[in-house]
């Protein structure tokens, strides 16, 4: 019995200690952003590996998600004779929810895990300590550019996801199933609001990009510097990112769309 309480106490203390380390890490990372502004080339390189390399998976997934939405939406809406509103359904669900959330989940899987593995391996091979030996702050040089790249590319990726998804829905809806093309777009334009829907979707994706990049970089930085430690950190990145994205999405949705 006592053993159980000891175990519980140690677990609680460890998780609070980790939360504290993550917070300090965040503060360091944010203060390191100022030095990224001086060296934009570091950011550019990370934008390439974080953003550009995620481009393909995001656009292809977005296309298929939009096509599935078009198909499923059509079957249900045509039962009520309302297949003209297919555009609204596809666009609203993509712009408000699926775009930011699914793009963030894919981003965590594609870019987040890569970031964790990269940083973890740098730590395991003592590259980070090596940098400190040369009086280069690894947070400023390695972490902050990656963080900024993640925060900047996430809204772009989410917007791409939604845009490609809407086109995918149009391909299926009006191309294959015979929904009127004009109705698809005009119903969408009449019912979606720039402020209420699109800006809120962008805000969501910025928040997800922030959280996912933070988790990925922290898990890498905090990993036990062994092969097993890095592999566990990578797993934790994906799991924790998924939890935080979905949990935060609920909170943000409740805050943004609660009053209408």
């Amino acid at each position: 019995m006592m053993e159980f309480f000891r175990f519980l106490g140690a677990g609680t203390r460890a998780s609070f200690a980790k939360l504290g380390r993550a917070t300090f890490f965040l503060v360091d990372m944010l203060s390191g952003i100022s030095s990224v502004v001086i060296r934009p080339r570091l950011l550019l390189k990370q934008l390439y590996s974080v953003g550009v390399l995620s481009f393909l998976i995001i656009t292809i997934s977005g296309l298929f998600v939009g096509m599935v939405l078009g198909l499923q939406g059509f079957y249900i809406l045509s039962r009520f004779g309302a297949e003209e509103t297919l555009g609204v359904m596809v666009a609203a669900s993509l712009v408000r929810e699926l775009g930011p959330v699914v793009a963030a989940l894919l981003f965590a899987g594609r870019a987040g895990s890569a970031l964790t593995a990269e940083i973890g391996l740098m730590k395991a091979t003592e590259q980070l300590s090596g940098m400190e030996m040369m009086a280069i702050d690894p947070i400023k040089r390695i972490i902050s550019p990656r963080f900024l790249a993640g925060v900047l590319s996430m809204p772009l990726l989410a917007a791409l996801f939604s845009a490609v998804g809407i086109i995918g829905g149009q391909i299926v809806g009006s191309g294959l199933l015979g929904v009127d093309d004009g109705a698809y777009w005009s119903q969408m334009q009449a019912n979606l609001d720039f402020q209420g829907d699109i800006i809120n979707g962008v805000i969501k994706s910025v928040v997800f990009g922030f959280v996912t990049s933070w988790i990925a970089l922290f898990e890498g930085y905090d990993a036990i510097p062994t092969a097993e430690g890095v592999s566990r950190a990578t797993t934790r990145t994906v799991v924790n990112s998924a939890f935080s994205i979905l949990g935060l999405d609920f909170i943000l949705t409740a805050l943004m769309f609660g009053d209408n």
Binding site: L156, L157, S162, A163, I166, Q189, I198
Partner: protein
């Protein structure tokens, strides 16, 4: 650090594609572009009942959207609904004896104002009033009238109903 031109290009393409997607969402998907920037003129119509008409509902002529509803207010003197509509300045040759009706797009669709042209040679101007209006058809009212009517018919011709029921 060595300069990598292809990487730069890809990053540039990526950022441009992302911003283009945002523009696409803003202009094509939401209502940011429609009728908010062009020149418009305002006309007023009074309906005895404007039904489920809302601000931003479409105003159309011959099925084409030519404007949108600006405001809907209740006139406490005449007990009418005063609907102000903004019509695109491109369409300034609408006769001033046009009639306005509130219709529903499909059975479950949104309500909109339809303008039907008259024969006058004078045109609607900014601030004109549309005199001939047809109110929205309230489904409950119509159903109520229909039921009342059919009950009335049943009462007046009971034998007829019975014989047709047997068949």
């Amino acid at each position: 650090m060595p300069h990598n031109n292809t990487q730069d290009t890809f990053v540039g393409l990526f950022v441009a594609a992302g911003i283009a997607a945002l523009f696409f969402l803003g202009l094509q998907v939401s209502n940011l572009s429609s009728f908010s920037h062009g020149d418009t003129y305002q006309v007023i119509a009074r309906f005895s009942n404007s039904g489920g008409l809302k601000v931003k509902s479409a105003v159309s002529a011959a099925g084409v959207k030519i404007g949108s509803v600006r405001s809907i207010t209740f006139d406490p003197k005449t007990y009418e609904s005063v609907v102000a509509m903004e019509i695109d300045a491109k369409y300034k040759t609408l006769p001033d004896d046009s009639s306005a009706s509130v219709f529903t797009a499909g059975l479950l669709g949104e309500q909109y104002v339809s303008l039907d042209g008259g024969g006058s040679s004078d045109y609607l101007k900014n601030g004109s009033k549309i005199e001939i209006t047809n109110s929205a058809i309230i489904l409950e009212k119509a159903l109520g009238q229909f039921l009342f009517k059919s009950a009335e018919e049943k009462k007046s011709a009971p034998e007829d109903k019975k014989s047709s029921g047997k068949k």
